[in-house]
Symmetry: none
DNA sequence: GAATAAGCGAGACGGTACGTCCCGTCTTAGC
DNA sequence: GCTAAGACGGGACGTACCGTCTCGCTTATTC
């Protein structure tokens, strides 16, 4: 799973595990702040308080280092929300969905990370793959579970294409966040997401086809 | 509009106008191929067959040069498609919408350009702004016109939030192309877009809420 | 004579002559202060306020750089002292000889330089050769001229081996300066040199063989 | 006298006394061959066939190690030559003096050692002090004794400043060996020393002031 | 038709990072 | 305690490329 190999316990002084974590965290910070081009080994090492050679001993290239850093920086996503109180009504569903997308818009470092890694795709597909695997996929799984329960509760049409729906929701958020000049404030993010959910078809069954609209 | 100033015709040897176009085209090529970090003035100048100082005399920074290059590389978008044959039926609308989004997926240089510029956003907002103004906005205008006609024809719900709908369509396409490992083939792109249109609500008026389905 | 080649005036920006002098002076300072091992190109360049590559462009190795620096740092030795007022008496001769050796003892940077270069001899004969040629030889020539006039004036025995005498005078001074823990003060240096001159045979003809001493 | 402490016999495996001598000899060899800068603990340990940590356990720094190595490498100088057959004549005296200075010129490792340690003086006075104490002083004592007997025998003037005379003799030899490009051959060394002794005033009593020369 | 001013190629400049090497020190395992 | 085998921070190495600058030469317009 990780690109890091476990070192055999052979003779000699063992590697300092603190150095690993310091390097990975430093790498992530520099990547978020300065981008891939600015994430030189030299800078990463200096910020981690570590000699360059200590980095080179562990990772043979900037790309593998950053891929590991991305993996190590993955949030603890609540695996699946079976435990959540089931919500049959629309507001309950939306309250569950909102924070899942909102944080990507509102937390600046997440916004930066997303922009950097999606932008790095063409040149560094391994970084993008690591991001997809360790950050995007878990979030998608969780969102999928929520939407599935929404569909079962009748809040979404029974024939809704949930995968595509997630693409659309994700996509709208991503392009919003990529095109924004700076981090949107939480209220604006909430407004945008509510408009988004409505247009995506997340409407109460009754509200969907009000008799007066017919 | 352009950041380029016209030079007064004063005395001395006039600037070679061919150099401008060669530099702009070279800049765009390098940007697409190597990304912003790889788009050094040195490389651009070498590819254009021009001395570095010739570039610096015309543009004060890499950012303004690339912004001009992005502007110069804008496609000729048919401004508004009043001329198009009005289409009341769903297949006709889809046939009009499909190519508008398909090309971003299918033409590799467009895909690269999109990825690079969205990724460059945090560091170089002026480039992103130029891209938005000269590439994204015209496309959005055209799409908006098409969707408006679709709504008028009853193919979309009368209360559809067209701006948000475009965000969703664009967004799905963008994240598809950003996450793809390489350029999708046209058939796959078409399949994806058709699923997308369907889930977005582009359905025939009768098929949308068949009385028998209720 | 110098190991530096004159550059052809070909195209391109010419080399900055100020950089040459700054590098040479910086190199000399670092050599005197830190010794050969401490005289890294990096340090020399930093102190000279110059990029490393600017040094490498001019000198291919530390040794050739330092050899040039040694040459450039040679003092302007009054070539030959024909112009000096001829002195037939002993005190006059001594007053002429004293400063010639005293400065090597009393000026700390000369003392350091001598120690460093004589010590570097086994490893870096080119540096020693440069020092010999540009610093030691001119001083020896001047001393030889003075001693020759002293012999002609009868202050030295007519059959004195002047070359060997200079070796002895130089040698005593050199080993004094090399073995001293730090720079001797001028009075001690003067006392030492006067004892040295007396034992070397620089005595007035009459004082040499006082009748009472027999 | 030595900077080495005797270790208490406490528990655990006792230190290998062979390691001490191997390290000291290795240190001396490396110092003579490579100079102070090249005499890294790493190299010394490797040549001694010993782990680096074994060296560090015994000596706290490179300087103290080398100082001990210098002390250990002192030649067995015949303390005072009371046993020598008294010699009233000039050739006898010279035959006694000659080898005392000749060996420093002719034995390459002595020449190297002298150059290295005199050169190291400014940076590492403790090494120089060790060399002075254990190598130079015993030789000076022996030379002084010989010269005293020469003066008593009338081969030197009764008022000769013997300390200064030794400085001159030593000094001439030192600067000869420091400036030479490589080890002089014994015949040249002998010629030089004979010229030196003559100019230093080591002449037979009759030859010194022949009545006819006056 | 010369003077003049700008264009142009070439290359030096300071700066930053590269990836490697060696040093002195520290830390483990195994004897 | 010893050897062996590393890892660690530090520093220098010599190279490469970048954006900037400054030179000599060329070229077209203006006087």
């Amino acid at each position: 799973m990780s690109t890091k190999r476990e070192q055999p316990p052979g003779p000699g002084r063992p590697r300092d595990p603190d150095a690993d974590t310091a390097i990975l965290r430093s790498a992530m910070e520099v990547l978020v702040e300065q981008g891939f081009a600015g994430a030189s080994i030299e800078r990463i090492a200096k910020r981690a308080g570590v000699a360059k050679v200590t980095v080179y001993r562990r990772w043979s290239s900037k790309e593998t280092l950053l891929a590991d850093a991305i993996e190590a920086a993955r949030d603890a996503i609540p695996a699946a929300d079976e435990t959540e109180t089931p919500a049959e009504d629309l507001p309950g569903i939306i309250d569950q969905l909102l924070p899942q997308w909102s944080e990507a818009l509102v937390r600046p470092e997440l916004r930066m990370l997303t922009a950097r890694l999606l932008g790095a795709g063409p040149d560094h597909p391994r970084l993008l793959a690591a991001y997809r695997e360790h950050h995007l996929e878990p979030r998608r799984e969780r969102a999928l579970a929520t939407l599935r329960r929404a569909r079962d509760a009748g809040v979404l049409a029974p024939d809704a294409d949930l995968d595509m729906l997630i693409d659309m929701l994700n996509g709208a958020v991503v392009q919003y966040l990529l095109l924004a000049d700076d981090t949107p404030d939480p209220a604006a993010a909430r407004d945008y997401l509510e408009r988004l959910f409505r247009q995506a078809g997340l409407r109460g069954p009754a509200a969907d086809t009000p008799p007066s609209a017919r």
